[in-house]
């Protein structure tokens, strides 16, 4: 049994890596990928806490709601990637670039 802390450290690392990518990478597709990493960090947390709950309260048997949430999250992430890629396609058709530094006309 791997202790909870390990999972949390892993998910934190993944989240921070993803956030760093979102903040720094210029390519919008890489940014999207980084968002996926952040989402999966959250999924790991959900699963980890779900399993931790079961070990804490063995009398209640196995509780799977955390795992189910993670599944939902993965499904939604798939939909989000579809929408995100569609937006990127439209942006590319209009500006011939997906560099997020150049897509900045919505401002003061």
């Amino acid at each position: 049994m791997i202790p909870l802390e390990y999972w949390l450290i892993l998910s934190s690392l993944m989240f921070v890596i993803g956030a760093y990518g979102v903040m720094t990478r210029k390519n919008a597709i890489v940014v999207l990928m980084c968002i996926e990493i952040m989402l999966n960090a959250a999924n790991i947390n959900l699963v980890a806490f779900s399993s931790y709950y079961s070990t804490l309260h063995p009398a209640f048997g196995t509780d799977v709601s955390g795992q189910v949430f993670a599944l939902f999250s993965i499904a939604i992430a798939a939909a989000e990637v579809a929408v995100g890629l569609a937006i990127l396609l439209s942006v590319y058709r209009r500006y011939q670039t997906i560099d997020v530094d150049k897509i900045n006309i919505l401002r003061w």
Binding site: V22, M23, T24, V100, D101, I103, N104, I105, R107, W108
Partner: protein
């Protein structure tokens, strides 16, 4: 037998109804003199009802502590009730207001004839004026009284400024309003103090029948009561034109003369004396306030009398004489309080109210006579009058009666009341020597009064005409009220000897105070007056004043140019400029107040506006700076969001627990 006194609340309703009708009816239904008919009817209705009520009071009925009341406001446990309060003091005020008010309205029918469309406004305002004055004297608590008090001020403002196209009239009206406002604020402050400690402004509670005074019941500390009564008297200083707030009254001459007659004889200025008399149960608990009252009265009497010496405007002479006579009344009230405290006598109080009644009659007479003269000659300046005796016989004789009455020559009314006033002040000297000085001022005032009244009479009616005017006697509608008032001025002094006598009558209105009833019989009073050497002092001085006026202004051969040089010239100019009091106020307003206004202006521009504009500037500039953050760069937004979350987390997890949350 109808209990008329219970209907006393209807008295103000008659003139008020007339006011509403004159104001609202279509023009062609107004009839005689554009509403004059309604005005006379309203005034006469109030007169008749007043007389019936007064008859009841004469028969010993009063409505005071047990009067019916109605509730005006309920706020939680707090109620404001309105009611009526009719006692002997109210009765005296009703006599003056009803008689003088009605005669003035009738007289207006002639005097205002040439006014044209303005008459409607005039009659409506006069009716409101009379109505609110009735309301003031029958109020049974200070709050109700204060409301009518302010309305009286408003009406006098409207009427003084009746010819508002004239700048001088407009500014005189403003002056009257603003100067009396100074007094009104003092009055209000006094009432607030009373209310704070006692919790009510009802006369019944404040004057405490049987249950003892509010001080002895421990509801108000002595020093606060002294402050409250002094402030309430401050209201009277403004309203009754006492020194140092007396300068508005001579300026109030800008209104029609009938309005002056009403203000001086019946309404406005008498309200202050009435207030002081009404507050008597409180005033006699505060000797310091009484002394203040007496000193103000004495100083006013003398200063106003001296100002009247050099005035050339006939109405201005009369105005200063009013201020001076009001000073007498206030002085008598102050001295009378000492008599109540130390000798348990109501002599001074009764004398003040007696003088108020007599003064009401002869001053209305004098003003209406002056109005008749002005109506005929077309000017106020006595220097262009003269020799009118032959052309205006009725006016000249009635005015002579009024002048003799105010000068205090027996058996006319002024003699009796002025003598009682001076006797009361002299008697007060037994308890505080200040009253001897005030008595001396009063006697000097008596001399000056006789002098300036006859100076006025000689300048107006005697000698040769000094200008080319075709004077004529006024129409009957004006001379008949003059004759009635002249009759009253002749006989009203004998009220001292009718029935139980005026003194015994008025004294019953303060019988709750420790006052022993007058044991003098009516013949005793007469004997006392005529055996007292002090009576002859004031009488001789009054006669001397008349003779001096006769020598200076009637007999030929007196060179009046001596008044123009040296010390006498300086004195003459000081008098002509009313001791520079008015000028002082003007300078004060122009220099000191203007300086203060400049400071306030600077403060407004740089501090108040500075703060407001500063906030606007801050907002605009901060916006211009912060909008740069809206760069359109998604990644920067995301970075800031993450930074924000980190800061929040650090704050919640570390800073808040560290701070104790």
């Amino acid at each position: 037998m109808i209990d008329w006194i219970a209907y006393a609340w209807l008295i103000p309703v008659f003139p008020f109804l007339a006011f509403v009708l004159i104001g609202l009816l279509p023009k062609r239904t107004l009839g005689w003199e554009d509403g004059g008919g309604y005005a006379v009817a309203g005034a006469a209705g109030a007169l008749v009802l007043s007389m019936l009520v007064i008859w009841d009071v004469l028969n010993g009925q009063t409505l005071t502590h047990d009067a019916p009341r109605s509730t005006w406001l309920i706020i939680g446990d707090f109620r404001i009730e309105f009611g009526i309060w009719v006692d002997q003091l109210t009765a005296v005020m009703l006599v003056v207001i009803s008689v003088v008010g009605t005669l003035v309205v009738i007289y207006s029918g002639g005097y205002m004839h040439e006014e044209g469309v303005g008459r409607r406004r005039y009659y409506a305002e006069i009716m409101l004026f009379i109505s609110v004055m009735y309301g003031l004297v029958i109020a049974d608590n200070y709050l109700q009284m204060f409301i009518f008090w302010e309305l009286v001020g408003l009406c006098s403002y409207l009427l003084i400024g009746f010819w508002y196209e004239k700048p001088s009239a407009a500014s005189a009206a403003k002056r009257a309003f603003i100067v009396t406002r100074v007094g009104d604020i003092m009055l209000m402050a006094g009432l607030i103090i009373l209310f704070k400690y006692v919790g009510t402004l009802d006369f019944a509670v404040l004057f405490g029948q049987g249950a003892g005074s509010i001080v002895s019941r421990g509801e108000i500390p002595q020093d606060m009561l002294t402050l409250a009564t002094a402030l309430i008297f401050g209201g009277a200083i403004g309203k009754s034109a006492q020194f140092p707030l007396h300068e508005w009254l001579p300026d109030a001459m800008e209104g029609p003369t009938t309005v002056s007659a009403l203000i001086h004889a019946a309404t406005m200025v008498k309200a202050g004396v009435y207030l002081t008399a009404r507050t008597y149960p409180l005033l006699v608990q505060t000797p310091e306030s009484l002394l203040f009252v007496a000193i103000i009265g004495g100083v006013t009497a003398l200063i106003a009398a001296t100002c009247a010496l050099a005035a050339n405007d006939i109405k201005r002479v009369l105005a200063y004489s009013t201020v001076s006579q009001l000073g007498y009344m206030i002085l008598a009230l102050g001295a009378g309080g000492y008599l109540v405290i130390h000798a348990h006598e109501a002599g001074g109080y009764a004398a003040a109210m007696f003088h108020l009644m007599n003064h009401g009659f002869f001053k209305a007479l004098l003003f209406l006579c002056a109005g008749s003269v002005i109506h005929s000659v077309g000017t106020n300046d006595m220097r262009s009058m003269g020799g009118l005796r032959g052309k205006m016989p009725i006016t000249s004789i009635t005015m002579l009666i009024g002048s003799v009455a105010i000068a205090g020559i027996p058996p006319l009314s002024g003699f009796w009341s002025k003598d009682e006033v001076l006797a009361a002040v002299y008697e007060g000297g037994e308890f505080d020597p200040v009253f001897f000085a005030l008595w001396a001022m009063g006697v000097a005032t008596a001399f000056l009064t006789a002098f300036y009244m006859f100076r006025m009479w000689f300048m107006t009616f005697a000698g040769a005409p000094r200008s080319e005017v075709h004077a004529h006697e006024s129409p009957k509608i004006m001379t008949v009220p003059l004759m009635i008032l002249a009759g009253l001025a002749l006989v009203s002094g004998f009220a001292l000897f009718v029935g139980e006598g005026f003194m015994g009558f008025i004294e019953r209105s303060i019988e709750d105070l420790p006052v022993t009833p007058l044991h003098e019989s009516l013949t005793d009073i007469a004997v006392r007056i005529f055996t007292d050497p002090l009576t002859y002092v004031s009488l001789v001085l009054a006669v001397a004043g008349i003779l001096l006026a006769y020598r200076v202004y009637y007999l030929p051969g007196f060179d009046r140019s001596v008044f123009a040089v040296g010390v006498r010239g300086k004195l003459q100019r000081a008098l002509e400029n009313r001791w520079y009091i008015s000028q002082f106020y003007d300078d004060f307003a122009v220099k000191v107040w203007y300086g203060f206004a400049l400071v306030a202006d600077w403060f407004d521009i740089y501090v108040i506006d500075g703060i407001v504009n500063g906030f606007a500037y801050l907002g605009a500039n901060m916006g211009a700076t912060i909008r740069k953050a809206q760069s359109g760069n998604v990644q920067r937004y995301a970075s800031l969001i993450i930074l924000g979350i980190v800061v929040l987390l650090v704050f919640i997890l570390y800073v808040l627990p560290w701070g104790g949350w």
